[in-house]
Symmetry: C2
Subunit: 214 residues, 2 copies
């Protein structure tokens, strides 16, 4: 549609460039631990005035997986106390992966450590930014089917419960605010949208197995 045809309410400001309007004058590391660096920057803001920006730089990527049993249509949730929230949280299995590490390998390792499940067919569902006003945290989410169970070995920072719940129940838990974690929600919503559009995880698994067998 040509701009002249747009109804008047389509007020838009379309830029022809996507350049960085910020200028950094200085940067110091205000805090550092094994997981994050807090960078305190003196900046010139987009309007030309001086200001500051505190950036939380993550030293790992957040990775996670929806473990899906296609035979019974259940997903595996983990429950744990989230120290920053001071609240218990039900989520899909998640962890951290190094920037030099294959994200799927990191997700497989975290899943096995936390729950004992391993193997199966994996597919990347989503990658994106969790909280871009202050942090640079990147998340990568997978779905895994055909998993086999073995012994778990959670880290000393993890005290985890696990529950297989029907996929539809997981979606109801999101609607009811019983699952509040953004990464879990994006991955589960994505799977629900695939289902709504007629996409079948069972068919996908079979295709992958056939492809492997060639």
């Amino acid at each position: 549609m040509a701009p002249a045809c747009r109804p008047r309410r389509y007020h838009e400001r379309v830029t022809t460039h996507e350049m960085n309007p910020w200028r950094r004058l200085s940067r110091r590391i205000a805090y550092r631990n094994p997981w994050i660096e807090v960078l305190h920057d003196e900046v010139v803001r987009p309007d030309g005035r001086s200001g500051i920006y505190g950036v939380v730089h993550f030293l790992h990527r957040a990775i996670g997986v929806v473990p899906l049993d296609t035979d019974t249509d259940r997903v595996l949730l983990v429950g744990q106390y989230r120290y920053p929230l001071d609240r218990y949280s039900w989520e899909v299995p998640e962890g951290g992966g190094g920037f030099d590490e294959d994200p799927e390998a990191a997700a497989r390792r975290e899943l096995t450590e936390e729950t004992g499940y391993a193997g199966g067919k994996w597919r990347e569902l989503w990658r994106g930014d969790l909280s871009n006003s202050v942090t640079d945290e990147v998340a990568i989410m997978f779905v895994a089917t055909g998993l086999a169970v073995g012994p778990a070995s959670p880290e000393g920072t993890e005290e985890l419960a696990t529950r297989w719940v029907p996929f539809d129940q997981a979606m109801r838990m999101i609607a009811a605010g019983e699952i509040r974690d953004a990464m879990s929600i994006i991955a589960l919503q994505r799977l629900a949208l695939e289902r709504a559009s007629g996409w079948s995880p069972k068919a996908q698994t079979s295709d992958a197995q056939e492809a492997d067998g060639e």
Copy 2:
């Protein structure tokens, strides 16, 4: 289904309590600016060993809105350079709201500042946690219909472009990684799932108008 009937692969660890397994020994403010506080805690971990936890405490809630034109089925996106990511990002309009502020009022204010749009019918879509391994950031998302345009007044930290895009195109932008922002994605996917289940935003708007008229 009774536990004894569960297939052997349903390995679960169900706890009967959801108590805090962490114990805080000390806390100091390692960094503070007008938006975040970084808290460095000495802790006793769930396994009984001593450790540390760096918590990024947010001084505002993240709030956002999907502006939806039901006549043409378009949503309003804003483009801006996200300083922490060092990358340009297309998102729905977002901002910060005080904990003592009504979230819808905060979202209305941010939308008008950023884009000039005001009024209309609003509905809360989601509230949850964006990044719970390190932060306590809470996000609240709305959908707004029937908006009217007026003058924008972006803050000096904002240089924004705006674009109305068809709803289906926004969903394709998510799939293509052109929209990467978690808050935007959760809200848009939620709307897409409502559509897939036969829920109509137009009908909802009419109901709300009727309710207002009583």
